[in-house]
Symmetry: C2
Subunit: 421 residues, 2 copies
């Protein structure tokens, strides 16, 4: 049994006996212990408390005791919305957009999601795994301890299965908490542009049965936007997915409000993601749902808005409406080419006016809930994974989002093991 | 004599025989050599070229040859506008602003520039030096090889001199190119609020003579904004400063357009900085001046606009008007608590729509000119300081600003010496 005791932690952040989904005003409540200790046993948080209670709570000190003086210790980030598996970056599109080219023009040139799909289908599973693995190592060094990863750059039976198998291998090899989401309904491939029914058939009758049989996914996602999937089409896909135990985690209301939220609520979605474009009715619907049992998490992706020069998600209005918001990176090569959750947290304060405490809760405990891992990660709780961020000596907790250009992390521990830098 | 030859550089960036200030469309021209070598002798760039010319240009190989395979090599960043010397961070103000407090309310509570001044006057020169030194080390590891640093948090004779002496010690001890700017006219101290003439007298008759005698500054800056210094007051201060050889480098048009630009042009300012708020007449004035000899550099500070949630500077309009723009960090504890020039470059593309080539030129060669160091740093030019950024293996040059959350730097060399990480 490997045991390590950290002493003299300057501030132990997000210490909780239980792990509720944090709605509305509760998001600002970030329990912390100043001058604390933390005991890790076999990769799990075994005990924690104030230093003056150490003798009481840990009567027999383990052999390995580490002075954490100067460090704050936070639960590692839980990034509940990413597209980590992709073939290659798309900076040439970024430059085209800087030069004034529209999304439609870029798509006409073979850019966008279909571009990523075209390239991915040419890559082997091994190559995709190697690329994704390297990205995962970079992100864990940046403090990410749990991550959701979507398919959706295959858009063929082989391509989607290949992506999900890459995610499965990441799960098996990594000690991060990983959840897989099937996003076959990311865009209509060119050949199905005028025959949506045929592509829906492919998803339902060709992809989902194999995904279900091989247990390749935990959730199902649909890109519900004008020009992509309608709410009705989304319901068809999700209904089929739910028969294989895949709960919906949905992309809605990034570019327009076409009914995706109501549809998602009806299907008991685990999370509703993006939400840049909300009508008053949408917020009222989310507010009503937030008061019910099994309320969805509203997952906000500020770096996508930042990179696309769109207005940020109305985080404060959502908090005022009593909803549970989470923060995620949306890491993908087209609209958010970064999975750095430290910057997501900072940007959520600078751009969306979250308080530092709200941002940290949204990127840890609520993020964990948004990927169905609220009982395993996301807070300093006895029995949870020892997924921990140790900061450099920083003046205060608020300094983390304030110093937006500084890497404040000293070390990261995942499942009780140090991440190499 | 210490000599090192770097071979197989994937892309050597901003290679120039001479070092012109880049105006208008010239900013997009970023000369590069693919598959290059670079010879460094005694901290200076001694030769460079394509690998296939190596034998011709370096007939006798030095003992130390390093394969740079995979790296791009850029001139280190030239950050021509910072307030690196300060006593402490002001994240509590950041939180107050998130909670809706106005700048005026924060100032009334003793926040803002006067807060920084109050605190700084309580710190010893040694402490300020130690703090600034640590920041400088962090920035050089992030690729900054030249930096301008302002006073302006003293606002007393002792305080301003103390800051300038700290900068002088930084100059003496660091191998970065450092330029000092006297910014006694940063704000009117409380006791001079209703007696501007008396504070101007203090600057002119108490501060400047000592600064001149002890050669404590290279430039003079004035905060020309409503509620701070009027263009007339700025001219009084600058005229006095110029008698001690201090050329103006001026803060104008961040919050309002009150004539600072015309005034600065009349005084032959080296640079006009901020420029968030420009009228058509301002742009026309800058355009006219750009066509004259000794045109000023327009220094843009996108992270300040980002952190204050203001519209970004109209970089494209300024380029179209033929001006020479530079990028700088404005690193300071109130409005831009980051000196990370990699993010400044990225943000200038994402937020201000600069092309990657324009952003790199603006943050290197034009930045060097904006601090009077265009002949020493800012490009890969024989005879210039070996201030170099070696990137990690990255897919392309455009990937640097595109991957906004990733630290792309592998190693940094300043004056031919490696920066420790």
């Amino acid at each position: 049994m490997s045991t390590i005791l950290f002493t003299h932690i300057r501030q132990l952040v997000n210490t909780r006996e239980d792990s509720p989904l944090l709605k509305g005003a509760a998001l600002a409540n970030l329990p912390c212990i100043q001058e604390a200790f933390l005991l890790v046993e076999d990769g799990v948080i075994a005990e924690y408390g104030a230093m003056h209670d150490l003798e009481l709570l840990v009567p027999q000190l383990p052999r390995e005791v580490a002075d954490a003086a100067g460090s704050m210790v936070l639960p590692a980030w839980c990034d509940s919305h990413t597209h980590l598996v992709f073939a290659r970056s798309r900076e040439e599109e970024f430059v085209c957009k800087l030069k004034g080219m529209s999304y439609a023009e870029i798509a006409a040139q073979g850019g966008g999601i279909l571009h990523s799909a075209g390239v991915l289908n040419d890559y082997t599973e091994d190559t995709l795994f190697t690329l994704a693995w390297a990205r995962l190592q970079e992100l864990s060094a940046l403090g990410t301890g749990a991550i959701e990863i979507k398919s959706g750059y295959g858009l063929t039976v082989d391509g989607e299965l290949k992506m999900l198998r890459v995610i499965k291998r990441l799960k098996e090899r990594s000690n991060l908490q990983i959840r897989a989401t099937f996003l076959g309904a990311h865009a209509y491939p060119e050949r199905y542009k005028d025959d949506h029914a045929a592509y829906l058939d492919l998803i339902i009758h060709e992809m989902l049965p194999i995904i279900g049989r091989e247990k390749l996914a935990d959730y199902i996602d649909v890109f519900c936007e004008e020009g992509f999937f309608s709410p009705e089409e989304m319901e068809i896909v999700c209904t089929a997915g739910m028969q294989y135990g895949l709960r919906p985690k949905l992309h809605v209301n990034q570019l327009n409000s076409i009914g995706g939220i109501r549809s998602g609520l009806r299907m008991n979605a685990l999370s509703l993601d993006h939400l840049e474009t909300l009508t008053e009715n949408d917020i009222a619907d989310l507010s009503f749902a937030a008061a019910q049992p099994g309320a969805p998490v509203c997952t906000l992706l500020p770096t996508a808005a930042f990179f696309l020069r769109m207005p940020y998600q109305p985080a404060r209005a959502l908090i005022d409406a009593g909803t549970a918001i989470a923060l995620a990176s949306d890491f993908n090569p087209g609209s958010s080419p970064s999975g750095n959750m430290n910057f997501v947290v900072s940007l959520s304060c600078i751009g969306m006016k979250l308080l530092p405490e709200e941002a940290i809760n949204a990127a840890t405990l609520n993020g964990a809930h948004a990927m169905g891992a609220g009982d395993l990660v996301g807070s300093i709780t006895v029995g949870k994974k020892a997924n921990l961020i140790f900061t450099r000596p920083v003046p205060s907790l608020a300094w983390l989002p304030y110093a937006f250009g500084t890497n404040c992390i000293s070390r990261v521990m995942i499942n009780g093991e140090w991440v190499s830098r």
